[in-house]
């Protein structure tokens, strides 16, 4: 059942005429997964509308909703394009993409646009663009390719040290921006992929201990505000009006939602702007407040469905490359979802990670859809394999 040895002459590996090929590829896209993803996007649009429609901007009350819609549409188009490409092409482009991402991150370090004390953006043709989001996709491709190439030697320890180095470079660059949350995403992707690639349990234990040991070192690298967040995570009541404020307000918002929520557009916390960053990082708090326990539960169920689909696609992939790619995507989505929601409920330090498909933001939305496109690409080839 191997496709790895088959000679491929076109991106559209299957079918006779280009149209036929295209048609049969599109036919096999997993539309249940796409539907659920679009439901999540709709959740996001509702919340964005609810929290921003009173903000007066020159562009009117639909400014954010309209922009988010454009991001979603762009995402869907890219998602289809990526799914049409045979994922084996990654063998050729994984290394260049990785280095392009590194260069973009370096560029940000020196020339990036600064907002709220962090240098995270570059401006391309009038659009703000966050290279760290694409670097996550680049890392998934790079690691999947690496593990695939080294599959004969995977159980050996040395082949788990190299990926660490490849991960730590972009991580440190993002850490410097500073963006603690995003740099942790890299680690999560690496760990999940290494785990699935077959690392021995005793290595996992060693890794765990090494991470614990490195905490004091990492601590000294953290900026003051990051240290503050960690301290306040442990005890938010230390500074209820300063850095602990966000966490407390978010918890109050979610808690006040009750079973059925306050109803859209009527969350006290959200509408009165007690909640910070409502349409970006704390989007879940608004869902909790306005849609209640059932709304939040529905959202979580949709996410579990997406992740379950991802795992299944990984398991049914025609070869290891496909498995690793799908695993990376699952890790990427999962970490964002878990950390963002955990943060809103005060389970995890406030690191500022957006919620996949729901939070407002262009680069992030598009990178999420590219990730789904990769899943589709693997899924389609597993059907034809």
């Amino acid at each position: 059942m191997s496709t790895g040895t088959k000679k491929r002459t076109s991106y559209f590996a299957i079918g006779q005429t280009p149209f036929n090929r295209l048609f049969s590829l599109l036919k096999h896209i997993d539309y249940s997964l796409l539907f659920v993803v679009l439901c999540l996007c709709f959740f996001g649009l509702l919340v964005i509308y609810s929290t921003t429609h009173v903000q007066v901007t020159e562009a009117g009350s639909l400014f954010y909703v309209r922009r988010q819609l454009i991001y979603i549409l762009a995402g869907i188009v890219l998602c289809f394009l990526v799914s049409l490409i045979d994922y084996h092409e990654i063998e050729k482009i994984a290394i260049p993409i990785y280095f392009i991402a590194l260069i973009a991150l370096l560029y940000v370090v020196f020339f990036g646009r600064t907002t709220a004390g962090a240098r995270r953006w570059i401006v391309i043709a009038g659009f703000d663009f966050q290279p760290s989001e694409f670097a996550k996709i680049a890392l998934i491709c790079f690691l999947a390719n690496f593990f695939n190439k080294q599959k004969e030697r995977l159980p050996y320890f040395a082949y788990f040290v190299l990926p660490f180095l490849f991960t730590i470079i972009p991580m440190l660059l993002i850490f410097r921006q500073p963006d603690l949350g995003s740099s942790m995403v890299f680690l999560a992707i690496l760990i999940c992929m290494i785990f699935v690639a077959g690392i021995k349990w005793n290595y996992i234990i060693i890794m765990f201990l090494a991470t614990l040991a490195s905490f004091p070192i990492l601590w000294s690298f953290l900026k003051d505000y990051q240290k503050n967040r960690l301290i306040l995570f442990i005890n938010p009541n230390l500074d209820p009006l300063g850095a602990g404020y966000n966490i407390i307000q978010s918890k109050v918002a979610i808690g006040s939602g009750g079973l059925f929520g306050q109803g859209l557009f009527s969350g006290i916390q959200s509408q009165l702007k007690f909640l910070p960053a409502q349409h970006t990082d704390f989007v879940f708090s608004v869902i909790g407040e306005e849609m209640g326990f059932f709304g939040a539960l529905l959202l979580l169920a949709l996410f579990v469905f997406v992740l379950w689909k991802g795992i299944k696609i990984a398991q049914e992939a025609p070869d290891l490359l496909g498995t690793f790619l799908a695993t990376g995507v699952v890790a990427f989505l999962f970490f964002h979802i878990f950390v963002n929601i955990g943060m809103a409920m005060g389970l995890i330090p406030a690191t500022g990670l957006p919620l996949s498909f729901v939070s407002y933001g262009g680069t992030f939305m598009i990178s999420n859809f590219i990730a789904i496109g990769i899943l589709f690409s693997v899924h389609i080839r597993s059907i034809f394999a």
Binding site: M1, S2, G4, A116, K151, E152, L154, P155, C192, F195, V196, A197, G198, D224, P240, L241, G242, Y245, Q249, K251, V252, A253, I254, G255, S256, G257, G258, L259, I268, Q269, L272, K273, F274, P276, G288, E289, G292, F293, A296, L297, L300, F303, V304, L307, W308, I311, A314, Q315, D319, L320, T323, T327, V330, F334, F338, I341, G342, M345, L347
Partner: protein, 598 residues
């Protein structure tokens, strides 16, 4: 299913691992759901109540800065209550209306206010100051129109008060809102926009000690914004007090003496390095910066023709003129370039190749011994010394006495000045060092640039026979509970390697300067005083006048440097002022010891 010859990784194995991963995901989601249940169902009622009552305001209580006292315990800088106009950005409904109302009351540009609000919005729930220190009429106007200013409040915060207006303004410095650059700097951790920090002088140098710790207050307000209940309050901790070595009476006397002039006067205890007074004229009133200051006013101060913010003692660089002859003299004695009994004939000018260098007395000084030459400040004598010593030696001795480098006084913004060298000239002008350059340097002209404080430091080194004291003007820092946090003691930081004999002879010459030479105008009957005058030519205009000196000659108590920018001859401009200051010092110390014949 997989290509897996010779590998232990099997498809089933990976499937198992993926299953494990999915189990982890499910566990994580279960944790989220349980937490959600806890927050929304179990604690739901409680949180809902809190959300309804969520009218909690966070107010910052600014800490009073530490007070500053002079050496006799006279209070120089304190704090006064000021009323600030404060907003809580999240509670403001329409910024445009607030800006419009405010701009008419405060006489500020609307666009400036709108900009300011944009910055404040970054911390929407924090009460932040928009306009500091309102006038009485403004307070009344705001109170009258309170209904228009929802989300705003008047707060009372400490504001700096300089009790003696322009007294030692450059030394004490002033305060103002922290700048963007300062916010980024590690010296100002834990500060945020709008905080007040020292901008110059002691206020800046000792800012970390003076600043104190902000307090905070959490109050519940009703729908009208009135405080109903104080939930939590952390009292601010006032900054530490600073006791100076400055004698404010002496400082004030000198400032009055030098009123209308441009220049500086520095007076220190000879055998400790304690600064008793440091005057830079013209001065300014630091209170200006704590009040609302318009952009025009600010521009007027910063770009004033007389550069009034500049502390000329450490931030002005000037040629030292003949004061530098002390260095040339020391170098000549130490190097054996001239003997005490040698005489050099001064015809009124000195020829070097085609150039003629004039003595300040055109008719000449005739035969000059070493001591005569110091006393008369004979240029021709020192031209000869400069020619014999050469640049390398002159540079060596100048640097040894601290010229061309910071004195490391406890004030920010000190300049280094310039002691030229062959290397420097090649680098800067791509030229070799000419013999004529030696001639100029020997009498403190040419490329040489010094701050008055460097010259003062040089004087102190000579006075103390080579012992270099750390010059300082903070005696101790005391916490609010009365504990001395830091006490500064006199400290010899290095020793200049010059023989005691050389110092003795040069000081003998300095005594002669006042007794019968160019420093005659500084003379005080009944007190033996040693000094040296200087008249520095400069491209900007009229000569600068210098006088350095110490008294009494035996067991020196004080060192004094007077510099008058564009004041003309040092013997006419600086020396008389120095005389008056020294007279005042000893009079003040003990009116009976020094008999004054006014």
């Amino acid at each position: 299913m997989f290509n897996r010859k010779n590998t232990k990784i099997t498809g089933d194995f990976i499937k198992k691992r993926l299953n494990n991963l999915f189990i982890l995901i499910i566990i994580c989601f279960a944790v989220l759901i349980v937490n959600l249940w806890y927050l929304q169902i179990i604690k739901g009622q409680e949180y809902e109540q809190r959300a309804i009552n969520n009218c909690i305001r966070s107010l910052v209580e600014e800490a009073p800065r530490g007070e500053i006292f002079d050496k006799n315990g006279n209070l120089l800088i304190t704090n006064r209550p000021a009323v600030n106009f404060t907003v809580i950005p999240a509670e403001i409904e329409d910024y445009n209306i607030v800006s419009r109302q405010l701009s008419s009351i405060m006489l500020l540009e609307e666009s400036y206010l709108i900009n300011k609000f944009e910055q404040l919005k970054q911390r929407p729930f924090q009460a932040q100051t928009v306009v500091r220190d309102l006038e009485k009429e403004q307070i009344i106007a705001v109170e009258e129109q309170k209904y228009k200013f929802k989300g705003t409040l008047l707060t009372v915060q400490p504001e700096r008060k300089y009790l003696y207006q322009d007294l030692a303004a450059h030394l004490l410095g002033y305060v103002n809102e922290i700048s963007e650059e300062e916010l980024q700097s590690s010296n100002y951790q834990h500060l945020s926009g709008g905080d007040i920090v020292g901008k110059s002088g002691i206020e800046k140098y000792y800012d970390a000690y003076l600043r104190g710790t902000k307090g905070s207050k959490e109050v519940e307000v009703d729908a009208l914004g009135r405080e109903v209940l104080t939930l939590k309050s952390v009292e601010p901790i006032a900054g530490n007090d600073i006791y100076l070595t400055i004698d404010s009476k002496l400082q004030l006397y000198i400032q009055e003496l030098m009123a209308g002039l441009k220049g500086t006067a520095i007076i220190t205890e000879a055998n400790s390095g304690k600064i008793l007074a440091m005057v830079s004229q013209p001065g300014y009133d630091p209170n200006l910066f704590t009040q609302q200051i318009s952009i025009e006013q600010w521009q007027g101060i910063v770009h004033s023709k007389d550069n009034i913010l500049c502390n000329r003692s450490i931030q002005g660089v000037y040629p030292p003129g003949s004061v530098f002859k002390l260095i040339t003299a020391i170098a000549a004695l130490e190097e054996g370039t001239v003997g005490l009994n040698d005489r050099i004939y001064c015809p009124g000018s000195f020829k070097l190749g085609d150039s003629t260098f004039k003595c300040w007395r055109e008719t000449g000084h005739g035969n000059q011994s070493f001591l005569d030459a110091i006393s008369n400040s004979c240029n021709v004598f020192f031209y000869n010394m400069g020619q014999r010593l050469g640049i390398d030696k002159l540079n060596h001795y100048a640097t040894m006495f601290g010229l061309g480098e910071k004195t490391d006084i406890d004030l920010p913004g000190e300049l280094t000045g310039l002691v030229p060298s062959q290397e420097w000239k090649r680098r800067t002008f791509n030229q070799v060092w000419f013999p004529g350059d030696n001639i100029n340097l020997a009498i403190g002209q040419g490329y040489l640039l010094t701050t008055p404080f460097q010259i003062h430091n040089m004087l102190c080194i000579i006075t103390n026979d080579g012992n270099v004291y750390r010059q300082y003007h903070v005696d101790r820092i005391v916490s609010q509970s009365g504990d001395v946090i830091k006490r500064y003691e006199p400290e010899i930081i290095r020793k200049v390697n010059v023989s005691a004999d050389t110092f003795r002879v040069v000081k003998e010459g300095m005594k002669k300067v006042v007794e019968e030479g160019t420093g005659f105008n500084a003379r005080i009957e009944g007190l033996s005083l040693a000094g040296k005058t200087g008249t520095a030519q400069n491209p900007q205009g009229e000569n600068h006048g210098w006088f350095v000196g110490f008294a009494p000659f035996q067991n020196p108590e004080i060192c004094i440097t007077v510099f008058v920018e564009h004041g003309g001859d040092g013997s006419q401009s600086a020396a008389p002022i120095a005389g008056e200051i020294i007279k005042y010092y000893f009079l003040q110390k003990n009116g009976q010891i020094v008999q004054l014949n006014e």
